[in-house]
Amino acid sequence: MPAVAAPGVPRATRLELFRLMLLQRFAEERIMALYRQGRIAGSVYTGYGQEAVAAGAGLALGPDDVVAPLNREQACHYARGVPVAHVFRNFLGKGAGPTFGRDGNMHFGVPERGIFPLVSHLGDLVPLVVGAALAFKLRGEPRVALTFFGDGAMSVGDVHEGLNLAGVLHVPAVFVVQSNRFAYSTPTERQMVNTNICERIEGGWSIPCARVDGTDALAVYETVRAAVERARAGEGPQAVEALTLRGHGHAAHDDARYVPRELREQYGDAIERLAARLSLDGLSASEIDGIRTAAADEVAAALVEAEGAAAPDPATLEVGVYATPIGGAQS
């Protein structure tokens, strides 16, 4: 089934969404291959199948807005203008990467692009974006802070404290929920009684929440964009629940055999759904293939660039523990 017609979304935006999703897909395919070859140490997390949410929400933000993405939202980084090579440098633990080799995989931020580094402890980033949004409100700046969380984090106390605070403080924060059916191996219906997360957010904290098909990039983009603009207009915190399915396991080592095949068949491929819409828009097959090829080439070149980067220097390990070091006072 093609993505929604979304006549209000300009052609350039539609093409950009497609490109961003392809960048994530191709980069993650490379990352999985590198991991299996033993060329990426530690863990690997992908957002396979959830690219529409990452790209749609990422592109819905303005240039001065800030965001705290998680593991499944690689395309959000690309929407903010982060080069693919920078992402690879983090997965490869390079010294010039966003964490200087100090953290791996998707656990990074890009401060100059308004992106806060991912923290593994799910829920921590929810109060954090509330605070960023509070700063905007106090200063009267028309900016918005957005973060993502999944159905899994919906059982974490910090999420509830953060949502409550967002409501009480009436700040321009946007929460995008990736309801991807599983928290690691545990299905949503064994995590919560009411699996309608939107209903819980609206009923519990009076935060407006819209449910959207998370495999439809155009629908996600339009819905999150509307939420972002309401927040920017002073209407307080907003939420969007994107209904989707995690395409890979929790991490690369997890084959996700617990996901029933029927469920996989129920969710289409978000990228092909958008391709079908672009085709209905009048793009030729060769034009669509051209975008695919360009994205694949960009990813391939980025990997070459990243692999050539220097490893971090162990002598720098203690540099930057403090922004203001205390001379000689560290034990």
């Binding site: 800030v66 966003p98 402890h121 509330v130 106090l138 404290e161 203001t324």
Partner: protein
């Protein structure tokens, strides 16, 4: 110069920071119109308004997390925890987010968390703890514990102006007990630097916060130096080693349980790097490894006292 209490010095530090820098704001439970559980912020809501002295729901993970987010955006939030014991609630976001962010991203988080700590107020296991030790050794955090009026003010101002997350533990028993000259608004106490509270030659007593006043009274007429750490993490290792090199005897006094906190770090440092200076085994005076008890008979036995510190010091001097 007028006389102020330790509590009033903290309040003056907050007020002056709010006056000097628009990016400073306060957040915590009941700190607004109510003035805080201990009255530290009394009058600030009236002077600076609800946008700079913000009441929070009972939600420490939430509002400490929000303070981190505001700091990310360049604000200088100062959080009040109603009791330091409740720092266990936002412990995760303090050690997972606040402590590690600069090291792994370069983002500065100028954030202060104030926490009233310590016993002697019959608060029992959940309102009397000295949790500063939980943060000793956590890379990326600074932990300060003022023991004088001057440092209550000076460390607060330095903490607010610092670009790292700072935990500021203020001792409840000192709030109204210490009185002294009102610090000058220009006064700053450097973070990471100890102070010789009283010079001496026979032994070094390393302590901080309420331990300073206790040590000074216990050491009366004895030849002992009292070194006030002021910052317990990262602590002033040079000052400790320098003093022990002169006195050759070490007593560490803390109100945190004996196996928690900075005392073990001080003893470890001196064993590793000051061993040849020692003329006696180092002594540790600290409460036992139990929760803080409630009944006066139990809490008095639990806490270090002038008598117990003096006895330990006399034994050390006589060794």
């Amino acid at each position: 110069m007028s006389e102020v209490t330790y509590l009033e010095a903290i309040r003056a530090g907050l007020a002056d920071a709010l006056r000097d820098d628009e990016s400073v704001f306060l957040l915590g439970e009941d700190i607004g119109h109510f003035g805080g559980a201990f009255g530290v912020t009394k009058g600030l809501w009236e002077e600076f308004g609800a946008e700079r002295v913000m009441d929070m729901p009972i939600s420490e993970e939430g509002f400490v997390g929000a303070a981190i987010g505001a700091a990310w955006m360049g604000e200088r939030p100062v959080v009040e925890l109603q009791f330091a014991d409740f720092v266990s609630c936002p412990f995760d976001t303090i050690v997972s987010v606040a402590a590690k962010t600069h090291w792994r991203s370069g983002i500065r988080l100028p954030l202060v968390i104030r926490a009233p700590f310590g016993g002697g107020v019959r608060g029992g296991p959940f309102h009397s703890q000295c949790p500063e030790g939980w943060f000793v050794g956590v890379a990326g955090l600074k932990v300060v514990c003022p023991g004088t009026i001057e440092d209550a003010y000076g460390l607060l101002r330095s903490a607010v102006e610092d670009d790292d997350p700072v935990l500021y533990f203020e001792h409840k028993a000192l709030y109204r007990r210490l009185r002294g000259e009102e610090p000058d608004p220009s006064h700053r106490t450097p973070i990471g630097r100890a102070r010789i509270a009283r010079a001496g030659n026979g032994a070094t007593v390393v302590t901080y916060a309420a331990g300073v006043d206790l040590a000074l009274r216990a050491a009366d007429s004895l030849d002992a130096e009292v070194l006030d750490l002021r910052t317990v993490w990262p602590f002033d290792r040079e000052a400790v080693l320098e003093s022990v090199a002169r006195t050759s005897r070490l007593l560490v006094l803390q109100e945190a349980p004996r196996s928690s906190g900075v005392a073990g770090q001080i003893l470890s440092l001196v064993a590793r790097e000051g061993f040849e200076h020692l003329d006696a085994p180092p002594v540790l005076v600290a409460p036992p490894d139990t929760p803080v008890p409630y009944a006066p008979e139990l809490e008095d036995a639990y806490l270090p006292s002038v008598e117990s510190v003096r006895r330990a010091l006399e034994e050390l001097l006589a060794y």
